[in-house]
Symmetry: C2
Subunit: 534 residues, 2 copies
């Protein structure tokens, strides 16, 4: 996927505009400074290096120079008549002069933000001088050829350094592919960019940095490294001028992608209580404000991404992504407009919501054959034909309900633990590629999202990528991260005794306790009323 | 040259012992720390990285970890049952954990000191845990194939980046050659060493770091870079675990080798006034104490290193290095004990001193044929046959006198400028390979060294190399360097109007002003007395 950022893009736009508002030139983790220096004389024969260091000191910037830059100073400075622009890269502790160019090139100041997902890697090219995102592109991860799920990949290279190197190379090559794509579209390549900020889950960062990731999923869940910090781009063969920065993680399941998302949404700065909920194959939830951050993570299951559903698929061409039931017919919207090939997560949610509201499934999710001729036995099992030749089986529904139950139980559990109620929550952010496309109303109806004020339920889009971009532009976020990591109190759901009991209670539509879903109850009452009238 | 350091080595021993006295474990720019850590549990699932960072914090060390080290932690920590040793490298601002090893390996803590001379490169391998120098080896620089003198090399690669790369490679390969030699003798290679400190003159550092060095010798003498500081060994392909550090320079002619020497001798800390004088092809002089440092530099000429003298040669096998005149005969000591092939600097100084004391040359250095049948016309010019078939011509003497006049004028000038007298000097260090072998008495007799208390005239040996080793073992020297550079007031002799007049006055043996050489005058009087008696 490849697109020029218009600023009007649906979901990420919120964060994007938020970022723009706060943008302040020269506050990022890279800088470009134009210097007009006096040329050397016998009276003032300070070295080329010293003249530049002194020039920056005159602008209150203490810095060091890389030897690569030292090698560039001659004949550059003389040819440019000592009017030069230096590129500065922050390494977490100090500024490094990582490049020098003739003339005033401050307008050409770029950096990358990367969201390193298990399936998809997304990169944004930013103009760090104006705070504009110039381009965004993504691509499937090359890691997929080592397994679609993370565990397969981890086992592939476990205790085999050579194979671990393969995974690392796949990670790096995926990034390089996208950088090339961006360069093709913008003319701006990595050599013109100073910094790259990467947000990824713990396993992805382990693979990227050539670390064994078995620890992420095996007791006692102590990962190899969670604070990679800044390191030279050349160490990984990504030829930016300055450094790569990886967002730190909190624990095995709460990686840099979540920290990045939380930082982007600003939970840690909020006066009011906010929730950050990222759901996909795994679910991660953070609830808190500037006083506290309670967080949890657990497996949700592949159902939300169309896995485990027989005709499930990712949200790409041919996938049913919107469903309504009208006049006894199932009406599907298909991505790309062609014949439906399967159904993706957002389609499943709408399908289930519609089935439930029309009584085609009961509150336990069981298909009611008497309600429609589209519900019939197929391959010996009850199933719904939602599109010509495409079926949604009872077991698909059961699987999905387990997944949504896991997701909603995480939320429920966290609220119980914190002693808070949803009324107190000013923003409930749902993040992730999945959260971006889902129909809020449908997700509430089936009990996947809590029943709350729709205004306060916000699709955050790719918050991890947004956080990466924001850090590029705002060095002070590094301090926030220490604060976030420090404040976060982590609960591993697997360790909670009554989690399973809670999850069973959530395995109804919307929930066994209908008190939790007043708007759904109201909706059902209205439908009943209408049916009575008909 | 290759030798195990016994500690009893003639000249450097002084510095060496001085260093040993001040040695304090754990104060260097590298450290090895043994950690006994708790292994991860579900209750304490801090990352491997964090456990180590916390372990060091418990020892009051804040540090960062390289991604290379992160990649090593598994299975290392588990296999070692969490008893590991980390290698720490200082980068000028912070400690980096650059390696982790199983068990307690603190005893295996090594580093390199390098003196990067134009002709010879010398390397010492240090045990940084005990403050012992384990081995020293040197080698001709591979740069020599691009020209024996520096200017030829500079012009070879001027404005040609590819050729500059050749010079850089020659510099690095010379170091690598010597490291191999040291490894052959000690079993310790660069991968086991943490840091490398390099002291070299400005041109050598420019070549090493791939910088154009034409600036060193051309007006306005603003060099490209004079404070390279710390940088990754891998950046130059020198595979130490941590960093390379290059001593900073003060100016074009006062490079890191001199700063290193001054730091080693401790002029900047001395209550009393001291002099540091390094003579070779160029002469550099620093005079001062903890209050001030006045310094100067200028060309001395190649005569001191056996250049420009027709039968001159470096101090290697076959070179006459000691000379006496007895019973009308010239008695030569030859390095290696074989037939003399030529004469080196220290031999020339003794020869001239003997010729003068025996009246074979007058105070202007002119040969007196009536004094010996060994003085005769050869190739149409007056010459002395100092060894069978080997001649020292009148023009060789003239050339040498010019050189020694340049050297002694530097000293004279500096004293005049500072308004000081030699009586006030507690130590007069003569450094450099040349200073190491020269006969003090002879050098005073011919007026190359000032006529002063012999006790206070100290051969410092390779002070530049000594300073490199000391910095390896003493991080606080980095602060001293800022102080030294700050205090140094530099006088470029070429710019001094009456320098030439002073030099002409010094072109006599020992000097036109005999008042300056009371002990030589006394010696001459004694000889005259003896001759009268005979």
């Amino acid at each position: 996927m490849n697109r020029e950022r218009s600023g009007g893009d649906t979901v990420a736009a919120g964060i994007w505009n938020k970022e723009k508002e706060n943008f302040s030139r020269g506050k990022g983790i890279s800088r470009k400074i134009f210097l007009q220096l006096e040329k050397p004389t016998e009276e003032d024969s300070r070295s080329y290096q010293q003249r530049i260091l002194d020039g920056l000191k005159g602008k209150n910037i203490d810095s060091r120079m890389t030897i690569r830059t030292m090698g560039k100073l001659y004949p550059l400075c003389d040819q440019a008549e000592w009017e030069i622009t230096v590129s500065l890269a922050w390494d977490g502790v100090q500024w490094w002069i990582v490049d020098a160019e003739a003339g005033d090139t401050t307008a050409f100041h770029y950096g990358y933000a990367v969201d390193m997902g298990s399936t998809t890697v997304a990169v944004q090219l930013w103009n760090c001088e104006t705070g504009e995102c110039l381009w965004e592109a993504d691509s499937y991860s090359r890691q997929i050829s080592y397994g679609t799920d993370i565990l397969t990949r981890i086992f592939y290279c476990k205790d085999d350094p050579d194979k671990r190197k393969e995974l690392q190379k796949a990670s790096i090559d995926t990034i390089l592919d996208i950088l090339k794509e961006i360069e093709k579209n913008t003319g701006i390549g990595p050599e013109q960019c100073i910094q790259m900020v990467i947000a990824g889950n713990t396993t992805m960062i382990h693979f990227l940095l050539d670390m064994d990731a078995f620890c992420v999923f095996s007791t006692p869940y102590a990962v190899r490294a969670d604070c990679p910090g800044f390191f030279g781009g050349t160490e990984l063969g990504i030829p930016v001028k300055g450094f790569l920065y990886c967002y730190p993680g909190k624990s095995n399941y709460l990686g840099g992608d979540i920290i990045s998302g939380v930082a982007a949404m600003g939970l840690h700065k909020s006066e009011e209580i906010q929730v950050f909920f990222d759901i996909g194959t795994n679910g991660e939830i953070v609830i808190g404000n500037k006083e506290f951050l309670l967080c949890g993570a657990g497996a949700a299951g592949p159902a939300l991404e169309g896995g485990s559903v027989r005709t499930g698929m990712r949200a790409c061409e041919g996938a049913v992504d919107r469903v309504t039931i009208q006049d006894g017919k199932v009406c599907c919207h298909v991505i790309g407009g062609e014949t439906a090939k399967g159904i993706c997560g957002s389609g499943i949610i709408e399908l289930l919501s519609e089935l439930f509201l029309h009584g085609w499934i009961n509150f336990l999710g069981k298909l009611q054959p008497e309600k429609s001729s589209l519900i019939r036995t197929m391959d010996g099992l009850p199933a719904l034909e939602y599109a010509p030749g495409l079926y949604f089986w009872q077991e698909d529904i059961d699987e999905f309900i387990k997944t949504k139950a896991a997701a909603s139980t995480m939320v429920e559990y966290m609220f119980r633990e914190s002693g808070l109620s949803l009324d107190k929550v000013s923003r409930f952010y749902v993040a992730g590629a999945f959260g971006k496309h889902v129909n809020k109303e449908a997700a509430i109806t089936i009990g996947m999202y809590p029943d709350m004020d729709r205004e306060r339920l916000v699709s955050a889009g790719n918050a991890s990528l947004a956080g990466a971009g924001m850090l590029l532009m705002d060095k002070s976020m590094l301090n926030d991260l220490d604060e976030i990591l420090d404040k976060m109190v982590y609960i591993q759901f697997g360790a909670v005794e009554d989690f399973l009991h809670m999850m069973v209670a959530a395995q109804a539509i919307p929930h066994t306790d209908m008190e939790r879903y007043p708007t759904v109850r109201k909706k059902l009452a209205e439908i009943e009323e209408k049916n009575k009238g008909a």
